[in-house]
Symmetry: C3
Subunit: 336 residues, 3 copies
């Protein structure tokens, strides 16, 4: 694991408030709980006739996507709109990157336009850290997925979902199933579950799709679904990237489904009240059967709903953290 | 014609209010008139210094375009902005569709983000019906063009235009000219004109571009322009899709223009006060001569202006219909 | 030089107020100063907690980009958002242009949707003039760069930057360096500097990249950097378009940098308090060394900040000019 102190000062301001959101690794449990509690207060906004609060009115949020993702971009756009912020979306692959401008020059320019936040998606692990290190004070950076490294807002919406259905994390057994090796989502989930005090985190997958440093992650490893799912409270299925199928890492799609695809039969090994989660988009018949995805224990679409509230929470908290870094006397009362 | 009752319950709520807008087929004349009247009240918004009403503030409108159309997308975006709604545009062909996600999964996800409306454009006939059937109650679906089937907001803005210039539909003779076979616009216009009580709907075009079920549509068919245009009050020219030209269905562009292209000479057969309409974008010199398109009887650009008002009407009415479906006691007072 | 009177009536209304912003050529000094003063009043908006003024609320701004430019598009979007306008962006190359619609038909349609402003970027010199000539009264046209002709908002933000750091233009020596021949930015800067009364405008570059009509522009020409930069107050570096490199007009990138690239050594010829400017995006190691771009005399990122304020000024002034053209009695009080 990377040393905590290398990351803590970057993400937190002097008062210990969130000012960037890059990785869950090294964050204190209280802060993760604060994110979940703040998301609670935003959840009802999505149910209102007027789905809007004026919290970030007149703020400029830049979605800077070096890697395309309509779904993630959409959730951040919606979260920003519901906080009344102005949003600019830059798909950088088709932009000045092709004119030979460096990553940093692109961001310095957006800074100079008085951007308040960069929501960054990048194919390279660590890019949002690099940006947060370089960015001018006052600009919050949110990691919307970097390489194989982290996807912390996804992991926090997963934690929100678990807390919502299970009441908390103490005593919980959680299984994460599939292509762990290539999954930034899994990495962030493991950190989050350990920080929040889940009893046991299990990884289930074929040897070829498990990370080699797996014993350092504070998890139990299974290659057999029946054993791995036994008595778990939560099953988190990962998306199998189709492009892995073509590589030597995996047998056929059919073979993967037979061994690791979640159907009702395999789900029987979990606790009767276990919930089934998936970060989406799902591959029906590859990692999950429709009978499970659409079944009574699936909370996959609820995750999406919670995701907007969690992103609203992280956006308002980091902006608030930046503001109280600038004006330490006034405090950052993001929940006003 | 498809049975009315198959479609009426889907588009209308229990109080008979519009809750989706998918097709004009089977809708009562009163409802079409209500749309036109509501559009009347929105028309002046476009002339104000502040072109905005707060009617849909805090609503989330998703433009979900499976088929690209800058023009139609723009009109819906503008209509939504002028109703103060938040708009998210998804060009699905370049999005998760390519990741193998099903249409339904995409929409379920948007639903879960608390979308209030899907404006759907799709290359397959019937897709918006399929979506409206599956969508969660509370989400309105508007058909922005599906395959060869329907384009009801276009047809309603055409009806608005006709009513605006002709005062009503009684006694009117309307000619629709060109590639009827492939035109969803023509199909929706025919329904609308019949429902609203036009005296006679004429279709004019080469045999190869006329639908085979034409006698069931309640229309008169002509293959000669001079005969077909004789004494009509309204001439609606259709856009000739360039790609049809390459097929065996048509002679050359020049030949088509000679036979069916509207110029001043052919227009002389219509009534002296006849108006000329076109859904745009026009092909100058293919289906319409510039002397007509830019001439005194052309109302083509007025159609565009009316189109914003009609879309505002349909958007506010369907949202209102959804709300009164949810709270039947309160009624849906969309015109507030 | 083109005759002033050919352009003045188009850009200015009967009261002499700006109603379009197409070129600086022929505009009076007072008007340029008014733009700079108006931008002054908008500069602090970017520093506010709520970066928004309600000046253009309910106005519809159409960014119509026939040539792609993420950076310029973004600055206009941000400026419009901070003026509370609604923005629609059309990338016309991928739109109806490919359906064979003429430029004019596209714009007539946007007009009919009650657009208040077209921000136009076009690869052809003169396109925004053509549009402003044809557009309906009430719609303001802003040139966001046309061919090799003009980029007046860029030039005005450059003037803002110079005035900000140098207090004014009297007595100033300004050098513009690089590919003058292909640069619409340089052309607009030369007009602006002459109108605002700079003492001397110098062009520095290889013979092959200098315009042939250079003596008519009211400038001094140098092919040697040491001589050209001697005692200047302002150095404006131009972006070298990579595609020029492949042509016969230029030696290698390395050779260009050796002769005309700005490094600290060459900068020593300028005055000790000289500022260095660049319209961006910069090519590090091609026309400018990182030691200069990131050095203490670079104001390149400040230009970007000022650019938002200048664009807000031009947008609000032209809308105001259009309004007082429509209602000559009421006057256009854009600074309210």
């Amino acid at each position: 694991m990377t040393p905590l102190d290398a990351k803590r000062p970057l993400q937190l301001n002097a008062q210990g408030q969130l000012q960037h959101f890059l990785s869950l690794d090294g964050l204190p449990r209280e802060l993760l709980t604060e994110i979940l509690d703040t998301a609670d207060s935003f959840l009802e906004v999505g149910g209102r006739a007027v789905k809007k609060v004026p919290l970030l009115r007149g703020k400029t949020i830049c979605n800077v996507f070096f890697e395309n993702s309509t779904r993630t971009r959409t959730t951040f756009e919606l979260a920003a709109q519901r906080l009344s912020a102005d949003v600019i979306t830059l798909n950088v692959s088709t932009s000045s990157a092709s004119k030979g401008e460096t990553l940093l020059d692109t961001l310095r320019n957006l800074e100079a336009m008085a951007a308040d936040m960069f929501v960054v998606r990048h194919q390279d692990s660590g890019a949002p850290f690099f940006i947060a290190n370089e960015v001018t004070p006052r600009v919050a950076v949110i990691n919307a997925g970097d390489g194989r490294h982290a996807h912390p807002t996804q992991a926090m919406l997963d934690m929100y979902t678990i807390r919502h259905y299970k009441g908390g994390f103490a005593g919980l057994r959680v299984a994460i199933v599939g292509d762990i090796l290539h999954s930034r989502v899994a990495r962030s989930q493991i950190h989050a579950l350990n920080i929040l005090g889940a009893e046991e985190v299990r990884l289930i997958g074929p040897r070829t799709l498990l990370p080699t440093d797996v014993e350092q992650l504070g998890v139990t490893v299974f290659t057999d679904m029946a054993q791995g799912l036994k008595d778990v409270d939560v099953v988190i299925m990962l998306r199998l990237q189709k492009e892995r199928m073509d590589s030597a890492l995996l047998p056929s799609e059919g073979e993967f489904f037979r061994l690791y695809g979640l159907n009702n039969e395999k789900l029987r090994h979990a606790r009767p009240d276990a919930i089934v989660m998936h970060p989406g988009p799902i591959n029906r018949g590859v990692e999950i059967a429709s009978e499970v995805a659409d079944g009574p224990r699936s909370v996959i679409l609820n995750q999406v709903t919670f995701g907007i509230a969690v992103r609203m929470a992280v956006m308002s908290m980091t902006i608030s953290g930046q503001e109280s870094s600038q004006n330490p006397d006034q405090g950052g009362d993001h929940g006003r």
